[in-house]
Amino acid sequence: MLKRTGVPPKGEGPFKGSRRDFLKQSSLLSAIALTPVTIVKAAEAQWDEKVADVFEKVTVNLEVNGIRHTVKVEPRVTLLDLLREELNLTGSKKGCDRGQCGACTVHVNGVRINSCLSLAVTNEGKKITTIEGLANGEELHPMQDAFIKHDGFQCGYCTSGQIMSAVALVKEGRTQSREQISEFMSGNICRCGAYSNIVKAIQEVKNHPS
């Protein structure tokens, strides 16, 4: 736990103290400068890190990879940040954080979405599956096996999103042709350019479902 920094004693400069305290206080100032008036008013009484506690938090119940969680989050926390920062499921990646790259793809109630554009609070009662929830114990999901077999990646950063999207794609039945696979995988960008091997992996799972 970080030490709480209170109001500086009278007579001292507002940022006297360690560099760390300065950073904490200055980031606090900028946070407050950008904060809606109602929250600032509530926060003014407690000029310290408690400001974070004054921000309204909302309780969310959700199931992630078969495990139920009850968490309290700020409304601005995305599902991606909840998964990565609170639940330590770092398999879902933050690429663009704007819904353009697909690295954060997860399944919500069986449907693939960009978790970076979904607020955690809107997932009340939902069932989430992440890349960590695909394998059955030590046994990989067929799509994971196929990505390894066909070398469907280089750096691997987009891979969990690609695999989550690919699993959904097969379920949607959008694997009639190479062109259809490419079109319906277009929300997952691979900067290394492993696309042709990704398509091969998907075709293998489609042709030999286990």
């Binding site: 809606p36 954080d97 554009l117 949607e172």
Partner: protein, 328 residues
């Protein structure tokens, strides 16, 4: 993202009342555009009123037409058997937009409310009359490659980015709206507006009003339809120009035509004059060429979007050819 307050609504009346009480609140549906804009600091709502729990999801027959709930996702609409059978143009247009993940999140009402993708709107260090009224238009003398050909003003030359809207305009959809004063419905073509002196207003919806549903009237356009989208890459990009074309043919004769363009105006751009011209004509390049020239009357290009003056009529011609079945 800036902090904000959050209200979860389970009834339309309550959601509207939450908006009335909080002057800087916004509705939250799929969030694919709004959350992005909030991360960029382009919009900074004090409160989000989450309408996702409202029972506005269904797609059902309504009289001789169809009613689509405002919270139906883009995927649900595009894949629905009643849409695929009766309104395939809408399915084609929706599937031409965004990515599967985004279409799974984005709703019909949210897609209608989608903001422009003008770079000057997104870049908070740039002037933009739409984001910050009175600050000027960065695009007018700037890099305006993506911008409008029709109906722009000296305040704003941005375009509506939606593909779905183009098809809904062509199909004469009707929008159902509920507000503090009751319900009203307006033709889809009157929902979005031209920028004029108020480019900050994308549409005619009041802030406290909620889109409840979109109705599609009975349509003869279930066979000869095409949605042609021209973009910088083959998928998952916004339109430079798009064309929704629907023909009702008897033999080679066009009984009725519907045409609308995307990527060329502040609103989905219906081509009434070209439609009227095509009525009763024999389908073929003669008629299609002339229709595409008629459609371009009144077009005005800027420094970097001159290419659209050629691209747009060619896209109309090609869309009509494909819709008519003359070429695949």
């Amino acid at each position: 993202m800036n902090p904000f307050l959050y209200t979860r609504s389970t009834a339309a009346t309550g959601a509207i009342q939450s908006m009335v009480k909080a002057p800087h609140a916004q509705f939250l549906a799929g969030g694919t555009n709004l959350i992005d804009l909030m991360k960029m600091g382009v919009v900074v709502p004090e409160r989000l009123v989450d309408i996702n729990p409202l029972p506005l999801k269904g797609i059902q027959k309504m009289g001789t037409g169809l009613r689509i709930g405002a919270l139906a996702t883009n995927s649900e609409v595009a894949d629905h058997p009643l849409i695929l059978q009766g309104y395939p143009l809408l399915s084609l247009a929706i599937n031409a937009g965004a990515s599967p993940q985004l279409r799974n999140m984005a709703t019909v009402g949210g897609n209608m409310m989608q903001r422009t993708r003008c770079n000057y709107f997104f870049d908070t260090s740039m002037p933009c009359n739409k984001r910050s009224p009175g600050s000027g238009c960065g695009a007018l003398e700037g890099y305006n490659r993506m911008h409008a050909l029709f109906g722009a003003s000296d305040q704003c030359i941005a375009v509506n980015p939606s593909d779905m809207n183009v098809a809904l305009t062509a199909l004469d959809a009707v929008v159902h709206i509920k507000g503090p004063k009751g319900e009203r419905k307006i033709p889809f073509a009157d929902f979005h507006r031209l920028p004029g002196d108020h480019p900050e207003k994308d549409n005619t919806l009041e802030r406290t009003e909620l889109i409840m549903a979109v109705d599609l009237p009975a349509s003869p356009f279930h066979q000869h339809v095409h949605y042609l989208k021209i973009r910088d890459r083959s998928s998952y990009a916004f339109a430079l120009v798009s064309v929704a074309a629907a023909l009702h043919m008897e033999g080679n004769t066009i009984k009725e035509a519907r045409l609308a363009m995307g990527g060329v105006a502040h609103k989905p751009w219906r081509l009434h004059a070209a439609e009227t011209f095509l009525k009763g004509k024999t389908a073929g390049d003669d008629a299609f060429q002339q229709a595409s020239q008629i459609a371009m009357q009144g077009a005005k290009a800027y420094k970097y979007n001159q290419f659209k003056m050629t691209l747009a009529p060619n896209a109309i011609l090609q869309a009509l050819r494909t819709a008519s079945g003359l070429v695949s």
